[in-house]
C-alpha cells in the first residue's frame, strides 16, 4: 500500500477531481479489493496496471453514482486522460526516487512532495539551506541518471 497510496490518491483527486469524501471511499475500496486479490497478483509488474485500472473504474462509477458524469465546466475534454498519463509517469519517477535510498529519497520527498523549505530541512539536519539546495540538485541528477539508465520505455511520448 505504501507504494501505491499516493498514486491512488492522485488519480482520484487530480485525475477525476472527486470530492474528499468520494475520493476516500474510492481509496479504501481500491485497497480492500487489492488485499482480496493479492494472492493472484504475485506478478509485480501486473500490480501497477491493475491498481491503476481499478482506481479509474471506481472513480468513474463514483461520478456516475453522483450524477456527475460530465466533466466540470472548467475541465477541458481529454484533460483527465492527460492527467492520468502524467500521474503514471509521476509514479515511475517516484519509484526511481525510492530506489535512490537515503538521504536522497528523503531530501527529494521533503522538498518536492511535502513542500518543506531548504531552511526547514536544513534545521533538522543541522545544515545550512545552501547545502540542502546543493544536495537536492545532486540528488535530482542521480535520479535523472537512474531514469535514463532504465531504458525500458518507461518514459512515454509525453515527456517534454
Amino acid at each position: 500500500m505504501e507504494r501505491f497510496s499516493r498514486y491512488v490518491f492522485a488519480i482520484a483527486v487530480q485525475g477525476f477531481r472527486l470530492s474528499e469524501h468520494d475520493a476516500e471511499d474510492v481509496f479504501q475500496e481500491v485497497f480492500a479489493r487489492t488485499y482480496e486479490r493479492l494472492d493472484k497478483l504475485r506478478d509485480d509488474s501486473a500490480v501497477r496496471p491493475w491498481i491503476a485500472q481499478l482506481t479509474r473504474n471506481l472513480c468513474v462509477d463514483r461520478l456516475r453514482e453522483t450524477a456527475r458524469v460530465e466533466p466540470a465546466e472548467d475541465v477541458e475534454p481529454g484533460a483527465t486522460d492527460e492527467t492520468l498519463a502524467e500521474l503514471d509517469l509521476a509514479l515511475t519517477v517516484r519509484e526511481a526516487l525510492e530506489s535512490l535510498g537515503e538521504p536522497c529519497s528523503g531530501l527529494l520527498d521533503r522538498f518536492f512532495c511535502r513542500d518543506e523549505s531548504y531552511r526547514t530541512i536544513g534545521e533538522g539536519l543541522e545544515l545550512p539551506p545552501g547545502t540542502i539546495a546543493s544536495r537536492i540538485s545532486r540528488c535530482l541528477v542521480k535520479m535523472r541518471e537512474r531514469l535514463e539508465g532504465r531504458n525500458d520505455g518507461a518514459a512515454p511520448s509525453g515527456v517534454r
Binding site: 499516493r6 476516500e24 479504501q28 500521474l87 531514469l147
Partner: protein, 84 residues
C-alpha cells in the same frame, strides 16, 4: 529519448504530483486486512448460530466494538451488507 527529457524542472514537476495521501486514509487502509478477518469471522459465526446472528443484527456497532475494531460507518455498512 532526448538528453533533456528528464530535466530537473520536469522531474520536480512530476515529483510534486504525488503528494502523500491523508494519513488517516492510509492508516484506515492498512487496517483493512484485520477488519476483513473480523467480518469473515462474524459472518461465519452468524451463519452457524441463529441466536448470534440475531444479536449481531440487533447491534452491529456493539459487536464490532467487542471484537476490538472501531465500528466506523463504513465498516458497519460492510457488515450489514454481508449479513443481508
Amino acid at each position: 529519448m532526448s538528453e533533456n527529457a528528464w530535466n530537473e524542472e520536469r522531474l520536480a514537476g512530476l515529483l510534486r504530483m504525488l503528494k502523500p495521501a491523508p494519513q488517516g486514509w492510509v492508516e484506515a487502509a492498512a487496517k483493512l486486512p484485520r477488519f476483513r478477518a473480523v467480518l469473515d469471522d462474524l459472518v461465519e459465526r452468524a451463519e452457524a448460530d441463529a441466536a448470534f446472528r440475531a444479536a449481531l443484527i440487533a447491534d452491529l456497532e456493539a459487536v464490532l466494538a467487542r471484537e476490538g475494531v472501531e465500528p466506523t460507518p463504513r465498516l458497519v455498512a460492510a457488515l450489514r451488507s454481508r449479513l443481508a
